[in-house]
């Protein structure tokens, strides 16, 4: 059905197959099967998140582990959504850059500021 779709989306126009796979988000039609896979993955990850959170690693002397696991899973989820639901995977280089760049700047904010707080006297952290 995707095959059909391909032709349907591009009614003999400028926006034809030529652009389809190169730039232009959205002209590439993602088969529903992909969506289904992704959503199942997301749901599984959600369950894992809960499971991991149910364990309090703090008691095992690894207080940081909970957050690390949670964030890793969250990032995976986000990436899945960005790549497939938001079609970045099928988009032009420019969109790749744009969808990634913001996170780079967020990182700047976090790193540069935390450099200050972490390198202050330790007793701030407890």
């Amino acid at each position: 059905m995707t095959e059909v779709a391909r032709h349907e989306t591009t009614p003999g126009s400028l926006a034809g197959d030529r652009i389809e796979d190169t730039h232009e988000t959205g002209h590439h039609i993602v088969p529903i099967s992909v969506y289904v896979k992704v959503i199942t993955a997301l749901m599984v990850l959600l369950v894992i998140t809960l499971g991991a959170a149910a364990v309090d690693f703090g008691k095992m002397g690894l207080p940081w582990l909970n957050i690390v696991i949670a964030m890793t899973i969250a990032i995976v989820k986000a990436v899945l959504i960005i790549l497939y639901f938001m079609h970045v995977r099928y988009s032009s280089k420019l969109i790749w850059v744009f969808s990634g760049a913001a996170f780079f700047w967020v990182m700047l904010l976090f790193v540069m500021t935390l450099v200050d707080y972490f390198s202050r006297a330790p007793s701030l952290a407890y």
């Binding site: 232009e24 959503i39 997301l42 959600l46 079609h87 744009f98 996170f103």
Partner: protein
């Protein structure tokens, strides 16, 4: 396949009557967006410009939330215990349901985009309705949660509500649980809880946190979920409008971009929640439930 207005692909500028169209970012006002606007040279340029604009807009959104996330991170690191206590006041079940609902809504939204691309009007409308339902459900649950929070005295005080306002730690869940294995000394202490005092949350080990720090957790909790909810509300409103337009066959005539743009926005809001949920609800999980263990 009902397509009302046939797609124009003229490269020549349309008559002066053509509206400009520039607000795809905001997801509404999609009239004529399948018509080449006169300041663009051709459809391809127009499509690309608009979707690039949307992504750029998402940049600003990300940076905006990142400010809040940073405050969260900093104080979680400083006042872990307070955060723990705070997060225990939240209802993880509702939080989970909401996460589920929101992921589902993302799914339906993605499908809606697909439907628009294959010009299946019925499916498009169906998925849009689905998304609306899920989105609405999310907001509904949030409303329930917030009212509960209010009754359990977690809403930090307004200046004009006096020093106490609704803020009343004595009502918190954990403290309830705690009451089960209470010893005299804590009994007195719990009775004395004032908005500015400290509250014992782990009676076994006599762990106390300053209520003020818990309050900071709640401030950030309400700011973050609040800002997120505002985005949701905006999204739902826009989606309603688009649903009507879809009924008129607006987006199934080759002009699927508005749907897609809105999809981008919706997925972004979803992603924010994907981070909010573990950060706000799942700090060190359920271990502390029931106060002592």
């Amino acid at each position: 396949m009902t397509s009302k207005a046939p797609v124009k692909h003229s490269v020549a500028p349309p008559p002066a009557t053509t509206h400009y169209q520039g607000e795809a970012e905001h997801g509404h006002d999609h009239d004529d967006s399948h018509v080449l606007m006169h300041h663009f040279d051709h459809m391809e340029q127009q499509r690309e410009s608009i979707s690039l604009g949307m992504w750029t807009f998402l940049w600003t959104e990300i940076m905006m939330f990142s400010g809040l996330f940073f405050c969260y991170a900093l104080f979680r690191w400083k006042f872990y215990d307070a955060y723990l206590l705070g997060s225990q006041q939240l209802d993880i079940t509702l939080g989970t349901i909401n996460t589920f609902v929101l992921l589902a809504s993302s799914m339906t939204m993605a499908l809606a985009v697909h439907a628009a691309q294959v010009k299946n009007r019925k499916a498009l409308m169906g998925y849009m309705v689905g998304t609306l339902i899920f989105g609405g459900a999310f907001l509904g649950v949030k409303a329930v949660e917030w009212t509960a929070d209010y009754h359990e005295g977690m809403v930090p005080t307004f200046e004009f509500m006096g020093p106490r306002g609704n803020w009343n730690p004595a009502l918190w869940r954990t403290t309830h649980h705690a009451r089960t294995d209470r010893k005299p000394e804590e009994a007195t202490r719990l009775a004395q809880i004032k908005p500015d005092s400290t509250v014992t949350y782990d009676f076994k080990h006599k762990k106390e946190v300053s209520v003020q720090q818990v309050k900071m957790y709640f401030m950030l909790y309400f700011c973050m979920t609040g800002l997120h909810a505002i985005h949701m509300i905006a999204g739902v409103a826009i989606l309603l409008v688009m649903l009507l337009m879809a009924a008129g066959g607006w987006f199934t005539n080759g002009n699927d971009q508005p749907v897609e743009l809105f999809g981008l926005y919706w997925h972004f809001v979803d992603i924010v929640w994907v981070f909010l949920f573990p950060l706000l609800y799942l700090i060190a999980g359920f271990s502390m439930f029931g106060g002592a263990h």
